[in-house]
C-alpha cells in the first residue's frame, strides 16, 4: 500500500467523552495506527450539556458503582471532567506506548458528536467507543471467549464502495480473528450480487471470512437491526454512506452494543 493508495490511512482519531473511553477501542485504534503508521490522536470532549446541567440548583449525580446520589455543581463537574480527561490521556499514552507509537491528545468543549464529526474532516478514521449502559460482564475466571464468533460489520455505499472502509474492516477482522460482514447501503437489489463479487475480490488478499448479504440496507433502522442480528463486534461506516449524519451516529451509538468507526 503506497501513500497514494486510497486505502491508506494517515491519521486516526479516538473520540472520547464521559460516556465513552473504553480501552478496547483505544487498543484497536493504536494497533491500526501502528499498522498503517498513521497519526494517533485522541480527542476528549467536555460535554457542554453536562456543564449546563450542573448549573441547575437541584441536580444530583447517581454514581454508577453504588447508586448513591450526590449533588453536583459546575465546579465539581469541571473538576470531574478534567480528572477524566487526564485519565483518558494516560490511558491513551500507555496504549500508544504498548505498540511503540506516539500520540497526541486534545481537549475541546462542546457537543461530543459534533466535535468528533467535525474532526473527521481532518482525519481518515474516527473511532467511537461503545456507549452501552451495560457494564462489561466479567465472565468467571478463566472463561475465555472466542473472538471469532462476533464479526466486524462494514457498511459501504453501493454507489461508491469505499476501498478504505473495506481494507480497514478487513484489517480489524484479521487482527481480531473475526469474520467480516459487508452491508451495502442503497442501490438496487439486482446489483447487489455483482457488488458482492467485487467486494470479495477486493478482500481476497486478506485472511478473513467475508459475507456480503444480498439484501441492501435502505434505512438506519435496518442497519441497526442487521448489526444487532450479526452481533457486531465493530461497525465500520464509510463516510460516504448516505445514512450517515450526526443524528445517525448518535442513534447507532445508543442502539448498538459495540464501537463505531467512521472511515
Amino acid at each position: 500500500m503506497n501513500s497514494d493508495d486510497p486505502r491508506m490511512i494517515r491519521s486516526i482519531l479516538v473520540a472520547l467523552d464521559d460516556a465513552c473511553s473504553d480501552p478496547e477501542t483505544m487498543e484497536l485504534a493504536a494497533q491500526l495506527a501502528a499498522d498503517f503508521q498513521a497519526e494517533f490522536q485522541g480527542l476528549y470532549v467536555e460535554d457542554i450539556n453536562l456543564l449546563r446541567m450542573a448549573d441547575l440548583p437541584f441536580m444530583q449525580e447517581i454514581t454508577a458503582g453504588s447508586g448513591v446520589a450526590r449533588p453536583i455543581d459546575r465546579k465539581s463537574m469541571e473538576r470531574a471532567m478534567q480528572h477524566k480527561a487526564e485519565h483518558v490521556r494516560e490511558l491513551m499514552e500507555r496504549t500508544a506506548a504498548s505498540v511503540q507509537i506516539r500520540c497526541s491528545f486534545s481537549v475541546e468543549r462542546g457537543r461530543v458528536l459534533r466535535c468528533a464529526l467535525a474532526a473527521t474532516r481532518e482525519v481518515d478514521l474516527v473511532l467511537f467507543g461503545s456507549r452501552s449502559h451495560a457494564p462489561a460482564v466479567r465472565a468467571p475466571l478463566g472463561t475465555r471467549l472466542r473472538a471469532a464468533t462476533r464479526p466486524v460489520v462494514a457498511v459501504v455505499e453501493a454507489a461508491a464502495v469505499s476501498a478504505r472502509t473495506l481494507a480497514t474492516a478487513a484489517e480489524v477482522g484479521r487482527r481480531q480473528q473475526r469474520g467480516l460482514v459487508v452491508l451495502v447501503c442503497g442501490g438496487p437489489q439486482e446489483t447487489a450480487a455483482h457488488l458482492a463479487g467485487r467486494i470479495r475480490q477486493e478482500l481476497a488478499a486478506y485472511e478473513v471470512h467475508v459475507r456480503v448479504p444480498a439484501r441492501p440496507v435502505g434505512a438506519l433502522s435496518t442497519l441497526i437491526q442487521s448489526a444487532q442480528d450479526y452481533r457486531a463486534a465493530w461497525v465500520l461506516l464509510s463516510r460516504q454512506c448516505r445514512l450517515l449524519d450526526e443524528g445517525a451516529v448518535q442513534t447507532l451509538l445508543e442502539n448498538l452494543d459495540c464501537p463505531i468507526v467512521l472511515v
Binding site: 460516556a19 449546563r52 447517581i62 447508586g67 453536583i72 457494564p135 466479567r138 472463561t143 452494543d257
Partner: protein, 799 residues
Amino acid sequence: MKLSPSELRWRCTPDHLAFDTTDDLEDLQQILGQPRALDAVQFGIGIRRDGYNMFVLGPPGLGKRTTVNLFLSEKAATEATPDDWCYVNNFEQAYKPWALRLPPGRGVRLQRDMAQLVERLKTTIPSTLQMEEHQSRIQEIEHEAKERHNQAFKALADRALARGIQLVRTPGGYAMAPVRNGEVIGPEEYEKLTLEERQEIEDAVKELQEELKEVIERIPRWRMETRDKIKELNRQATRLAIAHLLSELREDYVQLPHVLEYFDALEKDVIEHAEEFQPQEEMPANILGVPTAGQPNFHRYRVNLLVDHGKTRGAPVVTENHPSYQNLMGRAEHESRMGTLVTQFTLIKPGALHRANGGYLVLDALKLLQQPFAWEALKRALNSKELRIESLGESLSLISTVTLEPEPIPLDAKVILVGDRMLYYMLYQFDRDFAELFKVAADFDEQMDRTPENCLLFARFIATMARQEKYRPFDKQAIARVIEESARLAGDSEKLSVSMQSIANLLREADYWASTDGAATVTAAHVERAIDKQVFRSDRVRTHVYEQIQRGTVMIDTAGACAGQVNGLSVIDLGNFSFGQPSRITATVRIGKGEVIDIEREVELGGAIHSKGVLILSSFLATRFAQNRPLSLSASLVFEQSYGHVDGDSASVAELCALLSALSGVPIRQELAVTGSVNQHGRVQPIGGVNQKIEGFFDVCRARGLTGDQGVLIPQANVKHLMLRPDVVEAVAAGRFQVHAVETVDEAIALLTGVPAGAADAAGTYPPGTINCLVAARVNELFEIRRQLSQPGQDEAKP
C-alpha cells in the same frame, strides 16, 4: 593355698581342635551362646498381638542388632507386603488431607494416573469450553445480560424523555437532566420557568433518580446471575467432557471404594473449577518462583505417595538411626512464600513408622529417649494404633503458621527397641506404659559355658566371620588363642565371652598383623600381637600409674614388713581397658568406743559399698574379740595417696588384716598384696577384676625385680575366674611369683604376717603368740584402760 600355674589360666589345647584352619570348618548358622535371647526374639517377632513389642537388652557388642535383623529378615520375607499409603487433597477441608490405602504398587499407579488425568483435563476442558456451540451459548447469555441492562436503562430513558428529562452520562455516573428541544435546560432558561413548572421538573427528576438508583442497584445481582449462568454452563460442559476420562479410572479402581470416593470429590472440584483449566495469559504463572495469586493450582490434584511398597517383598523391616520426633512420626513441611510459611498435603513426609507400617521398626532405645517428645509420640501411636502427623512446633506453640491435620493412618507395626539393661529396668520401673507396650524382653547374655561343644561352635563362628569378612584363614593355634582371650574377656576360666564386637575386633586386627607379615594364615602369634597392641594402644594411664609407683611418688612397698600397713588392690576401668592398681592401706588403733573410722567415707570419697565393708569389719572385731564387753577401741582406715572416689568392698580383707596387724603389732609382709571381701564371720568372699589385680601387683613387682616371695592373696572363690596373662603364669611356674587362695581372714593374716592366726579353744582362748591372741589381749587392754578411765574421779585424768 598356693596356686599352681595350671590353676592360674585355662589353656585351650589346640590338639583338642579337630581341624587345621578355619577353612576346614563349616559356617555357623546359629547365634552363639544366646539360647534365652533367641527364644525371646523368635517369640517376640512371631506373636502378632497388641503390646507384644520387644525390647532387646544387653550390653553393647553382643550382636543384638545382627541377631534381630537376621530373624526379622527371615520372618518378614514370609509375610504379606503391606499396602501403599497416599495423601490426597480433601477438597472440602484442605487442611485435613485424606489418607488413601492401596495395594502394594498401586500408589505409584494412582500418582501417575492422576498426573495424566490433569494433563488430559488441561486439554480436554479448554477444548470443550472453546467449542463453537459452547461459546455461542455463553455469548447468548452475555448478550441477554447486556440486553437486560440496556433495556432497563432504555426504558428508564424513555420514561424520562416522556417527562422532558434526559438520562445523561456524567464523569462519575448518571444524572437526570431537564431538556428542551434536545438541549439541556440552562440555569437562565430554568429561572424563566414558572414555579409550578420548576416544581414539576424537580419532582420528575427526583422520581426518576429514585428509579435510576433502583436500576443501578439491580446491576450487581444481574451481573452475578449472568456469571452463575456461565459458570453452570461451564460445569455442564465440563461434566460431560471429563465423564469418560474418570469412568476409565473408576473401572481401574473399582475394587477400592475409598479411591472411588476420592474420584467423586475430585470430579466435583474439577467441575467447580473448570475455568482454571483454561490457558492463563494475563499474568505470569509465578514471580520470582512464587506462584501468582489467581493462577490455577493443579497441585491439589496430585497424589502424595507417602509409602510405596511397589518394590517391597514381604513385610518391611525399617531401622531408624535418628529417631527424632519428625523422623519417627512424619511431618508436614513448610515452604516460604513471600515471607510466609505455607504448607499443603504434598509436603507431608512419612516417618519411620509409616515406612514400617505392616512390618517391623528397629530403634535404639537410648537414641529414642534422647529425642524430645519421640518416646511419648511412639507410645501414643502404639496405644492408639494410628499414625497421626502433628506439627510439633504448632502443638508447643513455638510457631504460628498454617498447618495440616492429615487423616490418621491405622498403625500395625511391631517396634523393637535395642538398648542396655539399665534402660530396660528403668523404663519398666518408671514408665507405666512400658510394660503394657513392650511385653517381650530378649535378654542377651555376655557369656556362655566353656564346654568342648561351645569351643567348637566358637571356632566355627570365627571361621564364618573370617569368610564373611574375607580374612585369612585362622590356624587352630590362633583359634585356641582367640578362645582363651574370650575366656579372659569373660573374666572366668569356665566361661566364654560372647561379646561379638570384641572378638570381631580381635580377628580383624589379627588378620591385619598377619597381612603385615605377608602370612597366608593367621597364627597364634598374630592374635597375640593383636592383643598386645590393643593393650599398648590403651595403657597410657597404666604406664603412668606404674611409673609413679616405680619412682616412689606413689608409695607401695614390695619388700620388708610393717605393722598396720598392707597392699590392697583395686581396678581402674577406662572403658575399653582396665588394669589393677596396688594401693597402700593403713590402719591405726587407739582407745575408743568401738567405732572403725573409714576416712574415705568421712571425706565423702568412699562409696556406700566400701562403707558397708568397713562396718562389717567393726562387726567382725566386736563379735570375735568383744562379745561380752564393749569394744573399747577406735580405729581408722585409709587408702593412702588416694585422691579420688573409692568404692567396692574388695579391699575389706586387706583392711581387716591391716587392723589385726595394728592391734597385734605384728608386721605385715609388704611383698604380698591382698584382695577380697569379708563377711562378719571372717570368711573371704569373691571379688571382681581378679586377673587385673594380680597382674597389677605383678607388674609393679616385676619392675622392681621379682624375688619369688612376692605374690597376691585372692579369695578361693575367685580361682575359677583366673585367666592370667601368660607372663604371670610363667613367673609363677618359675617360682618368681606366687598366687595364694584363701578362704578365711585367718588364712590371709597368717600368710601376710607369717604368724598363725590361732583358733579359739572351747573357752574362747587363743593359743599364745598367735595373731588372734595378741589382738584379744590388746582389745582387753584397751577395755581395761577405758574402764579405769570411766571410774568416778578419773575424768580429770582423761587426756
